[in-house]
Amino acid sequence: MSAPQPLPLEVPAAAGRPLARLDRLGSLLTLCATAALLSTPFMLVKANRIVPGVPRSLFESLPHGGALGCLMLLALAGGIAVTVQNARLRLGAALAGVIAISVASGCAARALTPAGNQVIRVAAGPAFWVLLGCLALLCTDAVTRLRPPPARRVALLGLFLIASLLLLSTGLFDQLSVMREYQVNHERFADELRQHVLLALGSLGAAVAVGLPLGILCHRVPRLRAGILGTLNVVQTIPAIALFGILMAPLGALAVAVPFAARLGIRGIGAAPAALALFLYSLLPIVANTVLGLQRVSCQAVDAALGMGMTAAQTLGRIELPLALPVILTGIRVVLVQNIGMVTVAALIGGGGLGTFVFQGIGQTAIDLVLLGAIPIVVLAFSAAVLLDALVEVLNRGRR
């Protein structure tokens, strides 16, 4: 051993104190989950879909062997979250936990529903949701630590979605209250989902088609910039419901005055004012980010492009827009996620979309119907964010 030993410049601060080696986030989440599991019911059994439920703990919901197995898996996930730093292991443990409580809730619903009873409803209780939230946080934390490249993040998302759909299609969860609501509404669900995505993407498409040229105009003619951005800013501050109201009168009048417009589906209520309002909300982020992106393009590159004989249009199309694209896409990401959430409110004026279930559920005090609308909205928004973030990151590579 002639090689010189490296100097111990930095003694791990936690070397002597085992407590300090515990993972802070993991400990906090494990504490929360344990508290929820001990103090709140895992499942709720309701006599019908609108009355409050009777609480059932994990052990009251499942055969004892199953409950014990689930509990042991959760304990293992908690232990790993508290003591292990390896991100892959943490991700695996958290995912195993998610699968364990999902399967447990599905099995519990089956076990608690008397055979042939169509009225009784079994829903997941607070403990389930707290556990799911804690485990989801552990998952995202582990993914963040792994820092996967964009393609792998998209692949992970795809894998997660496919696995969820496969699990749902096995029928394991069919006795859960949310899935019972789905079975009742499954034809409408497909329509409303399609309508939701169409409204979100359609208004985004229109906003890009109008906002991009408007942003370029603002960049080229600085005198217009303050006026246009100011106006769009004011639009942004109007609450969605108020904007629907404001649009109702002119669109209604238009439908009366121009029968052709009415035949196209333009009316004071329905999808037309919803799409128009979403379009107006979408304009500001797209115009503002287009201006910002174009401003950030190196003026030397633009000078060189013109100096070498590109026309103004060629400079815009080949140099300025490609270089501004990551910033413009960031604006599009904001708009898409914002729209997916905001389409929900469109249901209030008959615009359709998954919000229909949310507001019907609120009206009927049927929480499971609300969830039938809300869960897919969250999944859609999350997926859109992951996809566009990955796209922005890919485009940002190889250019500085």
């Binding site: 590159a301 060189a304 070498m308 270089l323």
Partner: protein, 311 residues
């Protein structure tokens, strides 16, 4: 040949370039030098119409530059700016191919030209053709900028402070490269700088500008020996004007027959460098040698001193 005739540029009430006329010789390097705000860049940018003149005109080989659309004119004129202005989202290869592609050259011709230029500028194609600008060093980026400007074989190359962002050692190398390239392609170069040393080193002719006016346009030695304006003397510097004069002549040009036991200086070295070497060695003469080290003659201290006086 480029004829600049009574060229002026006014923005509102301020005159940036004031009635400038000059004839720029073919196959030479002309340097426009001046302090910041002297209008030198604007004058350069009026040649390729990035700035449209308020008055006067520019003739390129006898033809008014306004007789064709500006973007078509610019494709025939190379253009290099400070900080290179490379397109960050395009590879070195794509950057260099910009103007040939605009001109609609076929793929094989573009590839051949890019390969030739990469070689001329000492950029190994396998390593650099597919690289992005941010992966290159400052000196390499600058070389790609010049290669891009020369891609479509323009007869005229305009350079706006092309070496301003480089450190002194890379800058000296870039200047030597430019001289070699200019000799190789015979390009007419018009270069703008605020650095008098650079102007004297590169310029066959130097134009001194101040406050939009062209004060003097002459060979470098004439600026030293016959300054047309006190400002020209201030720009060229009074304290070391004899040394500057010596730096304009090479040892090879002054070499006379004879042997010398003094230091050996290459024939491409300036008299200033030869003198410095002789002072360092305490010698009265130096042996001038060519690239292979063969003696070409000698230069004496007396001959150098005589050359440092204005005639």
């Amino acid at each position: 040949m480029i004829s600049v005739e009574n060229l002026s540029k006014r923005y509102g009430t301020s005159t940036v370039v004031d009635d400038v006329s000059m004839q720029i010789e073919r196959n030479s390097i002309t340097v426009i030098v001046g302090t910041s705000g002297s209008g030198k860049s604007t004058l350069l940018r009026m040649i390729n119409r990035l700035v449209e003149p308020s008055a006067g005109r520019v003739l390129l080989d006898g033809k008014d530059t306004r007789s064709e659309p500006a973007h078509l004119l610019r494709r025939r004129i190379g253009y290099v700016i400070q900080g290179h202005g490379l397109f960050p989202h395009r590879t070195v290869e794509e950057n260099i191919a910009t103007v040939p592609r605009l001109l609609g050259w076929d793929g094989a011709r573009v590839r051949a030209r890019v390969a030739e230029l990469l070689e001329v500028f000492q950029l190994e194609p396998q390593r650099y053709a597919r690289a992005f600008p941010h992966e290159l060093s400052g000196g390499q980026q600058q070389r790609v900028g010049v290669a891009r400007a020369l891609a479509a074989e323009p007869a005229v190359l305009l350079m706006d402070e092309p070496f301003g962002a480089l450190d002194p050692i890379i800058r000296a190398k870039a200047q030597e490269d430019l001289l070699a390239i200019q000799r190789r392609f015979g390009t007419t170069v018009v270069l703008v700088t605020h650095d008098m040393d650079e102007a004297f080193h590169l310029g066959d002719h130097v134009a001194v500008m101040s406050q939009g006016r062209l004060l003097q346009y002459d060979r470098p030695a004439q600026l030293l020996t016959h300054p047309a304006d006190p400002f020209v003397s201030r720009m060229t510097g009074l304290a070391d004007r004899a040394m500057r004069l010596l730096s304009l002549t090479t040892a090879g040009e002054l070499a006379a027959a004879g042997e010398s036991s003094g230091p050996r200086v290459p024939e491409s070295a300036s008299l200033r460098e030869a003198l410095s070497e002789m002072l360092w060695c305490g010698a009265q003469s130096a042996l001038v040698v060519d690239e292979e080290g063969r003696p070409r003659g000698q230069v004496t201290m007396a001959a150098i001193l005589a050359h440092g006086r204005p005639r």
